[in-house]
């Protein structure tokens, strides 16, 4: 077990308490994110994991206040360095965004401007938030490009995004995010578009920079392997809600929610080649999030469904002090029939 990289007694950099995002659609309100709460400390990595449509990207956009106009953000409190991100004005938010809060997107090609050089785009961030002479911005850009492992940064600054490979572009995005020394990074699927070998290198880079600059990180991904290797804490999202939340150790070694258990069974594991056994899978599809949501949102796909699952509101409860889950069953009762190991004395 790796030593803990953050100090649990530090004050959180970001505290999200009871965040909801509702999107207006023709047939009513779509509850994209419901009752999400978490904290991130410096040097701590929180992973939001879930499948498409579970609300993980909306959560990150909400924190950056980049939601579409039709979306409404409500929260008891979103505290970042004393500001309530849910309530401050757009002008105040613009001062934090890209300055104190850094963001990395999935596809660096679509998030970069193709007609400006890399140098221009890196310097813009710095000049916008810090001002000062262009030469200072250029110096910082060169320093950071070297920091993220780009050889010959002076020459790269004059190039355009299309002249770089996917891995280099993502390094460039990371350098851009660091221009103003953010306290927290929000990385939305930063390695999904990359090769497996490049993925490992980019994750290693993020990790070392996080330690060096004392940043907290929210890493959003659907790749459970990435989550297991990067996360201190994990929040598993399903249909806009956090269904299980805890340390990576707890969530991966002792998953409690039936969805988490099912998701882990879906992963092909090492050494399955000879057996050609079938992978676990979760039947059914994600429910509609439009209109009033009652009961457990996972119930229709859950093999352990009971009558009580469709009633009222299911709250997060504790399996152990730092390990929460959203299910009416006791932790021991959520074992899926197919996951009982063959030959176990049951």
């Amino acid at each position: 077990m790796e030593h803990r990289r953050y100090n649990p007694s530090d004050a959180p950099v970001l505290t999200v308490d009871g965040m909801n995002v509702d999107i207006a659609v023709p047939s009513g309100a779509l509850h994209a994110v419901t009752d999400v709460s978490f904290t991130v400390r410096q040097r701590e990595t929180l992973c939001l994991v879930g499948e498409s449509g579970c609300g993980k990207t909306i959560t990150s956009l909400a924190l950056m206040r980049l939601l579409p106009r039709t979306a409404k953000l409500t929260a008891r409190n979103i505290n970042f360095e004393g500001h309530d991100l849910g309530k401050i004005s757009e002008r105040q938010m613009a001062r934090l965004r890209g300055n104190r809060i850094g963001m990395i997107f999935q596809d660096p090609m679509t998030s970069l401007n193709p007609v400006y050089t890399i140098g221009d785009q890196l310097e813009e961030v710095y000049l916008r938030h810090r001002g000062g002479p262009r030469s200072a911005a250029r110096k910082r850009a060169e320093y950071l490009l070297e920091k993220v492992g780009i050889i010959n940064p002076g020459q790269r600054l004059g190039q355009f995004p299309h002249q770089l490979s996917g891995g280099l572009r993502q390094r460039m995005m990371i350098a851009m995010m660091l221009m103003c020394e953010p306290k927290i990074i929000i990385a939305d699927e930063p390695t999904t578009a990359l090769d497996v070998t490049v993925q490992v290198q980019i994750l290693q880079l993020l990790r070392s920079l996080q330690d060096e600059f004392n940043m907290g990180m929210i890493l959003i991904t659907h790749n459970l392997g990435v989550v297991a290797r990067m996360a201190d804490h994990v929040a598993v999202m399903y249909a806009g809600r956090v269904v299980e939340q805890g340390s990576a150790e707890d969530v991966f070694r002792n998953p409690v929610h039936p969805y988490t258990r099912g998701l882990l069974d879906c992963m092909p594991k090492r050494g399955q080649v000879a057996a050609h056994g079938r992978l676990g899978s979760i039947p059914g599809i994600v429910p509609s999030l439009v209109g009033e949501q009652r009961g457990c949102s996972f119930r229709n796909r859950c093999v352990l469904q009971r009558a009580a699952c469709s009633e009222g509101q299911i709250d997060l409860r504790a399996a152990s002090p730092d390990h929460l889950y959203r299910c009416i069953l006791e932790p021991a009762a959520t074992v899926l029939p197919s996951t009982i190991p063959v030959g176990s004395a049951a």
Partner: protein, 338 residues
Amino acid sequence: MTAAVLSVAPAPQVSRSEPLALETRDLAKEFRVGRKWYSNGQPLRAVDGVSLSLRKGEVLAIVGESGCGKTTLSRLMLGLQQPSAGEIFVGGEPLTNVDRKVFSRRVQPVFQDPYSSLNPRKTIGEIIRDPLQIHKIGTSAQQTAEVEAIMERVGLARRLIHSYPSQLSGGQRQRVAIARALVIKPEIIICDEPTSALDVSVQAQILNLLQSLREQMNLTYLFISHDLSVVEYMADYVAVMYLGRIVEAGPAAEVLRAPRHPYTRALMSSILTADPGLGLPDLNLGRGFPDPLNPPNGCRFHPRCIEALDKCATVAPRPIMNGSGLIECHLHDTAAAD
């Protein structure tokens, strides 16, 4: 160019007397990059001397990073592009002698992105029926029956027959693509990253489906992927590609359990299993994919190889049959010399 002959041993359930379903001999594809009226451009050898074979009922996986030539190889095998050199044999017949239409009844593709590989203006029924109409198979009523049968087989509800692709989820669309490939009962399916656009739980459903279809219909798969944990689950044989060449190949259990080529080892260590606390692996791999327009001398992998010898920079390694597999690496020359 030396032929890299990969004669794969038959899988236990397959008899040796069956003809090879698919074979390539010294296959190469060269593109000209930057062609102008005054210049012929630079040559880019996307596929360079690839020889491989697979028997009926087997699954051969091709793995490698983007730009290694695996998609070009699949396009050659589908007859979508003409090889610059070498030959492809389907069921023992050379591809050049066979009409494209006849050939396409035997080899069918399933592409990566089910969002762009289905015509948005056709219904699911029309999409799946298309191959039957192109090949003029059966009467209209027979075609409808075929379409319904294959939809049931791949797990698509019959009511979806009049739906459009935009009304379907990613997993359902990939099922449509599989149904379209299977409706004319081909022998070989070429799957190019069939699950990389899908969620984990959907990926598991599609992989399970491909496995059961293979058993029921005795299909042969050429499976292209960069996800080694998926490959390990699917494949009988694995070929690892690097800059257009196969650098290691053999039975999946051997190549993936005990990789010998330094590149295969780096790929294997890049698999992130769901083990918390393990942290990130050390890849032992130099950074930067080389420029395919200007490939390194000697062994193409040597600039990134941590075990490179002096001669790796000058002498290109030759493919060596070693045990049940093939390897192209100077580190393993000595083993084969005796």
